[in-house]
């Protein structure tokens, strides 16, 4: 579905457009998803109507009607309920922010050192710097490791860093991190917005969410880890402390 966005020329960084990270609301269903849902929904409603058991009639009819409605409106209420948000290009948008008690140029410097990012983001396995603007990212996915190449599309030292995956990425994504001086002596507001196309469309995003792969939560955890690393130099923990569980052969 990359026809929604012009394909950038990887050999010409200037050709990479500034990515659109504007939120447009909750997920729209792609056409293919809508037609599959519509057929399944109608079939279930039919089965429900034919069923002799009142309970089955209710459940099948209800689920069928729900799917049909989702197909007809092009909206996925489950995605909405799970707060899966979207950009104008139909990508899933994840955004969050944290205030860190350090100057913006220091925090920018930590972020710009891409090879150090896996220390902050536990789901990142590695970032390999290929040249001034290109890098290779590897993440641990439930199905094994997934890699893609990315390009820095904007680099304003002390202020902002933006990136986009290059064509052919397994998970197309782009995003930005903005460093803004906080009012008063509170340090820096770090704002992250990133957009990606989940394998499997909105249904894929919902499934991933239900199975605990939550990019929004991962981002939140990463930002808190970043803050603690910068403010304390370590993360507080209760791992390994004593408890009554240890005496029963459980974990301490």
């Amino acid at each position: 579905m990359s026809e929604d966005r012009p394909i950038p020329n990887p050999n010409d960084p200037a050709a990479l457009p500034e990515a659109d990270l504007t939120e447009t609301g909750t997920a729209h269903l792609p056409t293919l998803e809508r037609s599959v849902m519509g057929s399944v929904g109608v079939a279930l409603m039919g089965a429900g109507l034919r069923s002799a058991r009142p309970f089955q009639k209710l459940v099948l009819g209800g689920v069928g009607a729900g799917l049909t409605a989702m197909a007809a409106t092009g909206r996925n209420p489950i995605a909405a309920a799970l707060k899966i948000r979207q950009t104008g290009h139909g990508e899933v948008l994840v955004r969050d922010a944290v205030t860190v008690g350090k100057p913006a140029d220091v925090l920018y410097g930590v972020w710009r050192n891409l090879t150090g990012l896996p220390r902050l983001m536990t789901h990142l396995q590695s970032v390999e710097v290929l040249d001034d603007t290109q890098s290779r990212w590897t993440v641990q996915a439930p199905t094994g490791t997934v890699s893609w190449d990315a390009q820095i599309t904007a680099d304003e030292p002390g202020h902002r860093l933006a990136w986009a995956s290059l064509p052919g990425a397994a998970i197309e994504n782009h995003g930005e991190v903005v460093f803004r001086t906080a009012p008063g002596d509170r340090g820096t507001e770090v704002v992250v917005r990133l957009a990606y196309r989940p394998p499997g469309g909105t249904l894929g995003a919902v499934t991933a969410r239900l199975f605990g792969e939550e990019p929004a939560q991962q981002l939140r955890d990463d930002l808190m880890r970043f803050k603690r690393e910068q403010e304390l130099g370590f993360a507080p923990t209760t791992e390994g402390q004593s408890s009554g569980r240890a005496t029963h052969g459980g974990q301490a």
Binding site: R220, L232, F234, P236, S242
Partner: protein, 392 residues
């Protein structure tokens, strides 16, 4: 070592558990010489605080002697005698630097859970008080691991007895902060305190120290009311009198200038509202029973302050918000910023202004603690405050 362990709703026990060890270079290990059961521990016993796990070590009021420090600990030394605030603060984040220690950004490793419940922000960790508040092992034990050892523990250098300084860890600063939050005008303002448990007792005496013209304490347990009366407070037994009428009469129809709700989420109360609250709490439709809060809003004078040291957990309804709006009330609430009160309050103890040991009614060993949890909860035997000696 021996420790008091949460075994499930209405069940705490004494168990032998592994001794704590240093987990981070900024930790210390304290050998506990005195520890107490807090009224908020009863919310854990009753199972109304979410995210407790079987095997959690309880206790957040404790003091003792430092027996081990991590390699990055600078100020605290082995052999120091310390009181340890019940809340855990990093000392480095913006809230900590502003003295809002209980709102620490960094000390709760389980920030996810609190963020999910409380609008995307988490307060700091607490000792022995559920995984939502960090899941830190508590101090009703022979030893305890104290994180951020240079930030929390406060050295006691005078020869004051444990019983005189132990409550600097929670109930004294909690009662004091509740009174301080009222902004009492000395010689003019009348303060009402709902709940004559340990925090209510300290709130009442703190209001007196801050110059309240009169302090009125409301409860139903005769021994608790007697303790407040002994300090010179006016008392109201809400089972014998209509609280709102009695408070109006006591204040010439104005209502108390400030009201402290030292009861929180498990108010007994009576009347149809209390019945509905209890039913909803049993059915897990609500965490809180709010009779005391309702009375606080309804009784408070125009322009007054409603100060809430009592713990609330979740969503509440049937709050008389119209009364609060009509009277232009100010709300002040939240976990105590214990760290900032210990020094000044210790000075008051050393100056003889107050001896916090007045509140102790029961002294026991760890082995007796499970029985005393129940005695304290049921307010039997005149029980106001229990102090435990882990080595008895």
């Amino acid at each position: 070592m021996k420790a008091i362990v949460w075994q499930g709703t209405n069940s705490v026990g004494v168990e032998t558990v592994p001794d704590p060890t240093l987990l981070l270079p900024t930790d210390a290990i304290v050998r506990v010489t005195s520890t107490a059961i807090c009224g908020s521990d009863l919310h854990l016993l009753d199972g109304v605080i979410p995210s407790m796990e079987k095997g959690d070590i309880l206790g957040h009021e404790f003091m003792g002697e430092v027996v081990e420090v991590g390699r990055d600990v600078r100020k605290l030394k082995v052999g120091d005698r310390v009181v340890v605030p019940f809340n855990i603060a990093c000392g480095a984040c913006d809230p900590c630097r502003r003295g809002l220690f209980s709102a620490c950004d960094n000390s709760n490793p389980n920030h996810r859970m609190a963020e999910a419940l409380y609008g995307g922000v988490s307060g700091g960790g607490l000792f022995g008080y559920s995984h939502m508040y960090g899941g830190y092992a508590g101090g009703q034990a022979q030893y305890v691991r104290v994180p951020f050892a240079d930030v929390g523990p406060y050295r006691i250098e005078s020869d004051l007895r444990d019983e005189q300084v132990l409550f600097l860890t929670d109930i004294f600063p909690t009662g004091y902060q509740a009174a301080e939050n009222c902004g009492i005008l000395p010689g003019r303002d009348v303060v009402a305190v709902f709940g004559a448990g340990p925090v209510g007792q300290f709130a009442a005496r703190s209001a007196q120290m801050l110059g309240a013209a009169n302090v009125i304490v409301i409860d139903r347990v005769p021994e608790r009311l007697a303790m407040a009366a002994a300090a010179g407070c006016q008392v109201i037994n809400y089972e014998q009198e209509d609280v709102l009428i009695a408070l109006r009469e006591a204040t010439g129809g104005r209502g108390p200038d400030h009201v402290i709700d030292a009861v929180g989420m498990e108010a007994h109360g009576h009347g149809p509202g209390a019945l509905v609250d209890t039913a909803k709490q049993r059915l897990k439709l609500s965490f809180d029973r709010i009779t005391a809060l309702r009375w606080a809003l309804l009784s408070c004078a125009k322009g007054g302050t409603v100060s809430l040291p009592g713990v609330y957990g979740g969503l509440i309804d049937k709050v008389p918000m119209g009364a609060a709006f009509a009277k232009g009330l100010t709300f002040k609430m939240g976990q105590t910023h214990t760290h900032r009160h210990i020094g000044p309050l210790l000075s008051r103890i050393e100056a003889g202004e107050i001896d916090p040991s007045f509140v102790i009614t029961h002294r026991a060993s760890l082995d007796q603690a499970p029985d005393l949890y129940r005695t304290f909860r049921d307010k039997h035997d005149g029980c106001v405050k229990v102090v435990l000696n882990p080595w008895a």
